[in-house]
Each structure stands twice: as C-alpha cells, then as structure tokens.
C-alpha cells in the first residue's frame, strides 16, 4: 500500500467531530498563525521602523548608540519576518538550517572580506 493510500485511510478513519492534529497529517497541513497575528506583527514592525527613523530625526538623543541600535532593531525585524511571515517557526526545522546557513556564511565571508580591506 502506498504512503498516500495509507494516509487517506488514516484520515478517513478519524472522527470528523474531533480536531485533526496537524502533525498527524505529516505535512499535508501546517500550523499557520491566525490572520490577526499577522496584523499584530505588521504593527510591531511598523513601530520598530518608527523608532529606527527617530535615529535620523533625533540624532542627539541617540548619540553614538544609533548605529548599534539600528543594527539590533534591523536584526529583530529580520528574524520576526522570517519566523512568522515566512513560517520558519511553524515549518520543518530543516528549512531554517538551509536559510540561516546561507545567511551565516554570507555574514562570515563578508565580515572577513571587509576586515581584510581595513574597513573596521
């Protein structure tokens, strides 16, 4: 019996009055966040962006910490988008490794390149 046939049989035997755990579908359905969570995340991202812009409009308030703060806020926005909008938090962990492997490789290579050219 093929995997697909076994899965169809397993689903058909399940009581339709009970919620089907997404995990038991083995990838046929993923746990996705509800829409209101997307709206909340968009609001959070917009607020962080406003704080980022304040480093430009109120430079004296931020002083020498502006660059560090911008890098941290950019990093937070980056991670939030990948986790929620791109579903890395809900999807197969292997995808997180694939993407962040590329990202970490890029950061390491170009930090080394910039260091070799006396950027820092």
């Amino acid at each position: 019996m093929s995997d697909a046939t076994e899965e169809m049989q397993r689903l058909s035997e399940h009581s339709l009055t009970e919620p089907i755990p997404a995990a038991s579908l083995d990838g046929a359905a993923h746990d996705h966040p509800a829409d209101f969570r997307y709206w909340i995340l968009a609001l959070v991202l917009a607020l962080i962006t406003m704080v980022e812009i304040s480093t430009y409009t109120f430079p004296h308030f931020w002083g020498s910490h502006a660059t560090t703060a911008l890098l941290i806020m950019g990093g937070i926005k980056f991670v939030l988008v990948t986790l929620v909008f791109m579903h890395l938090y809900f999807d197969n962990r292997f995808l997180t490794y694939v993407f962040y492997a590329g990202l970490v490789l890029a950061v390491m290579v170009y930090l080394a390149a910039l260091a070799s050219m006396h950027f820092f």
């Binding site: 995997d3 697909a4 899965e7 169809m8 689903l11 058909s12 339709l16 009055t17 009970e18 919620p19 089907i20 755990p21 997404a22 083995d26 990838g27 046929a28 359905a29 996705h32 829409d35 997307y38 709206w39 995340l41 968009a42 991202l45 917009a46 962006t49 980022e52 812009i53 480093t55 430009y56 502006a66 660059t67 911008l70 890098l71 806020m73 950019g74 926005k77 980056f78 988008v81 990948t82 909008f85 791109m86 579903h87 197969n92 292997f94 995808l95 694939v98 993407f99 962040y100 492997a101 590329g102 990202l103 490789l105 890029a106 290579v109 170009y110 390149a113 910039l114 050219m117 950027f119």
Partner: protein
Amino acid sequence: MAESPTLVSGHEFDVHDALGEAEHRPHTQTGISNPKLAMWVFLGSDCLLFGALISTFLLYKGRATTFPNHHIFDVPFTSVSSFVLLMSSLTMSLAVSSISRGDHRNTRVWLMTTALLGSVFIAGQVYEFTGFYREGMGFTTNTFSSSFYTLTGFHGVHVTVGIIMLLSLFILSVRGAIPQHRAETVEIVGLYWHFVDIVWIVIFAVVYLIK
C-alpha cells in the same frame, strides 16, 4: 464521508482537501516539496549576492569625500517607501492564509494589493533615482554612486520580478488554475516576496540610516 469542514489546530479544514493534498504531496525524504526546498536554497544563496553588494557599498561609501555622498538621501521619503514594502509583506501573508483556507476571492484581492504596494515602492525608487540624477549623481560619478545604484538597483530588479510573479499568480487564480491543494505555489512566491522585504530592512538601515 461527511461534507462539513472540521478543525485542524483551530482552523476550518476540509478532509477532502487534506486527502487531495496527500495525493498531490511529493514523497521526499525530508517531507518538504522540492520546489519549496529549492526556493529556500535559492534565498540562502541570494544572501551571498546581497551580502557582496552591501559589503561593497560599505567599503566605498566612506571613500567618497566629494559630492554626492550620504547627504543626498531623502530619508523621510524613503521611510514611506520602506513602510509600503513592509506592509506588502502583511498582504502577502494574508494571501497565503486565504488560499490555504480555500478563499479564492480574498487570495486574489491580497495578491493584487501586494503587487500594487510593490509597484508603489518601485515607482518611489524610480522617482528617487531620477531626483539623484538631476542633482548630478550619475552611475559613474564616484564609487559611492556606483555601489549605491548597483545595490538598490539589484533590489529593485528583485521586487520587479516579484511583482511579475504576483501578477502571474493573480491571472492563474482568475483562471481557476490554483486550487486549494496547490496553495504551496502561492506560499513559495510569498517566501520570495518576504525575502525581498527583509533585504530592504537591511538596506534601509545600512545605506540610509547609518551615517
């Protein structure tokens, strides 16, 4: 077999669609479809491309002691563009959410909204580039301008490709060629779109805000 939808982790879910998806789901060792995995590998490798462009900009922007330099930027204007692109990620997520529920009408609405927001961003970039050119900042004016146009231009090309993909999805959806069990097609285009957004998050901070 019952026709009514049941719940999967709090969402309405039609067993027939689950069975349909189980039939269409590819049998891979990872349990991840090849197109989705390929998109993630592409995005991982695209980090290297943008890493190279951002590093080049960082290296050259400090060497441009004459006009044009960092002072040419209109940060309030670019902030609005950034906000527009950020909100397009929200509408893209809503499109993916709609198609996974089988809500084709809202899928089309959100896909078109995302494409329009992307177009507004591109229009803003064209306006910005035109303004810079009129102020005397051409592509070969100095190393700052060359690296700036290359970096933001490559990003603009990515956004444009994303808009073409979104419009293609919209047309396919109108023709009924994206049934619910093929929601992953929309999700994969969504991954590309979100990536374009997170790259801009980095570019906006590094290029426009950090002096």
